[in-house]
Amino acid sequence: MTGRDENEHAPDGFEEILHAYADGLLERDPERKLAVEQRLERDPPARRKVEDIKTINEALKAAFAVEESNSARFASAFGPRAWPSLPRVGHTAAAVAAALAIGFFAGQLSGGVPGGKMPEETVAALMKDHPDPGRMAADAAMAGVEAVRARTEPDRLAVARNLPDFSGAGFALSRVSRTAAEGKTMVRARYENPASGETVELAVMPMPQNSIPPETGGAGDESRIFWSDGHLAYGLKAQKGRPDLGALARLASSGGNWALTAGKPVLAPEMREVAPIAEPLPAADMAAPSGPVMPSGTAPISPAGDKRGS
């Protein structure tokens, strides 16, 4: 920009008419159109300019075709939403999914992340301020994303408040951390069952493009379950069969655990068929003899490590 008034560069009247003619705006003014065409016959530079403008117009149309097929993601964009709008990120869902898959499921981010054992006073503050422990992991991830964009540290206490509650299954939050994968914030939490000694890890990160139905898998001694609701992606990881990750995923996704959605479960469509768990789950009932249990309505898939790690 030159800093001068833009109107200072406005073309003269004939130049303006040339552009209008090239843009087809004189079709409703035949007399003017005819006058321009007569002028163009005896003015080669003006004729060349009109040709160039038309050429640029057509080249632009050739470069950017109208996308007639509306992708599913827009079907409900113009409509009421139970889910708060997320900051958009400029990567494809596949890239984010890969980041989650590689980072979380391969366990490469399992160490060296900020955070640590939550101090007792933090836990006490949580329970004091929020006697209803069910909170939204989405909010935690959003807080993390916004903090990264603003280059500030998120309020760790606020993040911890917004993690889902697994106490119904006997698990208590023991660690919370925030890290990044492929430039995206990932909120990670670790839960422990003091009675059984079992642990489970939850990872949440933005995935603003596609819903992904729950996918279970595992490698070695680990069980995993992964899903995305089109805004956030979730991963749960635990030792195989201890506990049942499918049940925990349903618990994490049940309406009662998601305060900001006013009781509505925010799930991938495939998981909406799963009835929320109304009663606390005894830890003993969560153990599955043959690996993770898939929520109903989902198709079996290959292990996430095989599918996503490539």
């Binding site: 843009d23 057509e58 080249a59 470069a63």
Partner: protein
């Protein structure tokens, strides 16, 4: 689906094209459309029935775009492979399609956001000057100024490319190609 929803649904393909061309990226463009649609829903009371739904949506989309641009750098420098996959290009020889898109996208990338938006609204979307001025929320004189300067910059870029000796062969093809797509 109410009246406005059906109108909006019809405009989504045009919103996507405008957004993709503004952003230079299919992914960013679609994100922009989604954000704009969400905002449009929240602001649906601002739609005047006598006005053009497309103009109303484009105006919202452009505002969302400007807001996002304050936080991020443009990424128009490279040709997006997804844009190259447009059906129009499939009808052209791949090399010529590549050159055509390269020229256009390179030229667009060199334009300031306001000039690029003016050029795209008029040249690509066929919006009238008056309506484009409303969409961009500028006086009609400013719209014309941005449009003409943007086009002149695009013309200059094509001309400069044609004068480059290293691209002499390609230039002839470019000139031929640009005439062919008319």
């Amino acid at each position: 689906m109410d009246e406005l929803e059906s109108y909006v649904a019809r405009e989504i393909p045009h919103m996507r094209r405008f957004a993709r061309s503004l952003c230079g990226s299919a992914d960013e463009g679609d994100d922009l459309v989604q954000d704009a649609l969400e905002r449009a829903w929240r602001k649906r009371d601002s739609w005047r029935r006598e006005g053009s739904v497309r103009g109303w949506l484009f105006r919202i989309l452009y505002r969302v775009f400007l807001n996002s641009r304050r936080k991020a750098k443009p990424v128009l420098a490279d040709t997006d492979p997804e844009i190259m996959a447009d059906p129009v290009h499939e009808r052209l020889p791949p090399q010529e399609a590549r050159l055509a898109a390269d020229d256009v996208l390179r030229g667009l990338a060199s334009l300031p956001d306001d000039q690029r938006a003016a050029v795209l609204l008029v040249a690509l979307e066929g919006v009238s000057y008056d309506e484009a001025a409303v969409v961009l929320d500028v006086p009609i004189g400013t719209l014309r100024s941005r449009l003409f300067r943007g086009r002149e910059a695009l013309r200059q870029m094509v001309s400069d490319a044609e004068r480059m000796p290293a691209r002499e062969t390609a230039d002839r093809r470019t000139t031929t190609r640009l005439r062919r797509v008319k």
